[in-house]
Subunit: 337 residues, 3 copies
């Protein structure tokens, strides 16, 4: 949708340096932008691309205005303002209200007349679908689920039972919410399944990535607070509590009954063992797994970066012989006494 | 379902300390239990919650009876007995026999009249579905599969072809069994696909977590023995053999043709490389990956725990300079000769 | 399908040592092969099984012919030639052309008359399905997708929108292509979603394993070149570019905007952080994550192998006290001055 720079500046409270009547109708990276593109500069690593851009306008910080060869929309948070503007220029697809003839919906379910229920959806007993919700093809919603207004379940999502999803939630394909947690009791005859009886409560404005799983609680509920963002292929085990605005990158795994604070960041392939508490504002580096309570905000790490295998092997060999090294030092110390 | 403590004690052979006519109708954790709740104390870390519980009764060990302010069901394995009792108080949902009108079933498939086939299920040629089996919405069962009696395929499960699942198996949503293994032969023109021709044989009482994948064998079958428990987002590659009662926590990965013994435990994010053998009763710690045969039962480990990033970085720097350390020791030794 | 050894030798240009009229009708490993089986010897670790095989014939290298008790098909690349021959003996299942009555297809979609569209498939606006394509049960193809000729989407696959898949592509169950990338901008009020507007372009002869996800680009497309092989449970994040004939084993994770060269190999659980470039012909060992550009072909590593926990703990304790070790060496050096 074409929009004038002056209108964007007014709507998002950015200072415009340039022609307010110039219109943009698409977004693009600095290098590929054309004469009707809006672009942005947020990460300083791309600053060198600014001088050559052919965009109509660039959203950027005040300190970068002088380097811009084109119109500037000045922002203290260019990435966020770009995101907002991109949402205006490329508005999300809307779907007509209604229920596809192939959907199978329990007579006790309540579906808002403004919701879109796509092909091959099934909705279980007593579940409710809110206004303007989008339930994409192949999605299975079991019994006793609540999908609040404006949610989008993209496709092939599964909510097993007793899951509530807050306003504007987005669940990507293959997401599974409310499957049984991994509860097993050992006996002399093998494992016994521990009934998983809780549900899952998810706050407002939560987005969960493709093929991620969030298990139901064993007795009480698994809880994800408002504004949480979870990437693809993560697991949130039973009875985990994730604080508001925490974000987890792909392949993060949180074991059962762990409580995570607000505004935490988990990098890719990171995680936490079960039954621990992590305070607010903690950052876990890639691949690091937390194994005890964290009570101080800050960055936590535990991984090595890849290096040429020969060099790595030599270091590992040294590491394996640390005992011998200590012994040699001990001898030297003794000799020096 | 309400049940009297005396009946629970008799049925599960626990000594009751308290009023046999008191009834429970729900289960709850020690802290949240109410006057009709059954609770349990297994993990000593929760012992301090016992004194304040308002449960009707607590399943616990003999040594904890004196600390309980309420009725006690005395057990040598409180977690297992709690699990059994919870299954009585909260019996699993049952489903009416029958086939949803939207299901698409091959004329050569055989479905037990007591099975429940939900919406949008498809069942391929020559496959059979046993008595009282539950095949949840969106599940795809390809050709030549056998689903034994009392299995539960929760929803959106995929069995590709030639998969047999033993009695009482539970497959959670997004599970994929029998997809082609990762078999590729390099040539000068790129990869050639190696046909994956085997099936998957799964024993009785196996439970597999959401979005886990078990590949078919390349030539012979991939095998999972009785009583195995696999959590979410694991991979069992082609021709793996998993011994009875082994359990794998989330994100475990077992590479092709590896054989795993009975009663092994794989913690979260752990795994094994291909073409190795791991004996019975082995425990693999979180994140550890086994890279050669294990012939002795015991605990195996290979990971560091997260710590403040500054401290971690200093240790990594030291690790990277171990060579220099060795050199300095060598010099000191030489000087001392 | 039975075929004579002479015909196999002629068709795949292998020297035959043995009776050209002997026929094989199945493939098997050396140990389980019977009198009408074709087997192969590629990995030297199985050489000792050759002498006892009861196969009809074995595909093997010239150097192994003398050890074979049965007919030999001599090849410079026995694994690849076995793969080709296995594809003749066990040809892939074919499916009749046509569209299942339960499929829901947009009037603006174009489906080749020779394609097979299975039960409960949905196909979105303007998408096209090529000749002889197989779209398995439960698959969701969103709008603006292109499925080229001879592709096979096994079952329950999801292509969200704007995905193109080249000739002969194979997508296993649970694969999700084109879901939104993990793009979030932090503000004082929490995360803002950054619109993900690009698509995914996949070349010819690409195979993607069960439950793997490939996200759409943020602005430009995510790209996977010809001949790439990706195993189960991997993530390819937004705007990643994977070079031709690169292969990734299970649980590999590639973060956003990273560019990977041709013919790279990623072992299981490996990966790369975002915004880096990896050159052609790089091998990443299991569990290793690359955190900066790689400009030299070769093998890169970063992980420890599992060992008995007690030994591992002792090493970790030493590692944690490296600072003290350095201090002791410093003292010794000072004393020696």
């Amino acid at each position: 949708m074409p929009i004038k720079l002056g209108d964007l500046a007014a709507r998002f409270d950015c200072k415009l340096v340039g022609d307010p009547d110039l219109a943009v109708d698409n977004v693009a990276g600095l290098q590929n932008a054309g004469p009707s593109s809006l672009s942005f500069l947020s990460n300083p690593r791309f600053r060198k691309q600014l001088a050559a851009t052919r965009a109509a306008a660039v959203v950027l910080r005040a300190e970068d205005v002088d380097e811009s060869p084109v119109a500037s929309l000045v922002s203290e948070n260019p990435y966020a303002d770009y995101a907002r503007m991109a949402g205006v220029i490329h508005p999300p697809t809307t779907y007509p209200a209604g229920i596809d003839a192939s959907a199978v919906i329990s007579p006790s379910a309540k579906v808002s007349p403004s919701a879109h229920i796509a092909a091959h959806v099934s909705i279980g007993h007593r579940s409710t679908i809110g206004e303007n919700a989008y339930v994409g093809p192949g999605t299975v919603i079991g019994p006793d689920c609540i999908i609040a207004d404006d949610c989008r379940l993209i496709a092939n999502v599964t909510l097993v039972r007793n899951v509530s999803l807050g306003l504007r939630g987005i669940l990507h394909p293959g997401v599974v919410i409310g499957a049984d947690g991994f509860g097993n009791a050992m006996t002399q005859d093998g494992w016994i399944k521990v009934p998983q009886l809780g549900g899952v409560r998810i706050g407002n404005d939560v987005e969960i990535g493709a093929n991620t799983t969030v298990d139901c609680g064993a007795i009480e509920d698994t809880v994800i607070e408002d504004g949480v963002r979870i990437d693809n292929l993560c697991i949130i085990a039973h009875n985990v509590h994730v604080g508001a605005h925490t974000a987890m990158a792909a392949m993060t795994g949180i074991s059962g009954s762990t409580t995570i604070g607000k505004r935490c960041l988990f990098a890719g392939k990171s995680g936490a063992v079960g039954h621990i508490t992590i305070c607010d504002d903690v950052v876990i580096s890639g691949k690091a797994v937390v194994s005890k309570d964290i009570t101080e905000p800050g960055v936590y790490a535990a991984s090595f970066t890849a290096e040429p295998a020969r060099e790595w092997s030599r270091k590992v060999a040294r590491f394996r012989r640390l005992d011998q090294l200590v012994e040699r030092i001990r001898k030297l110390e003794k000799a020096g006494e």
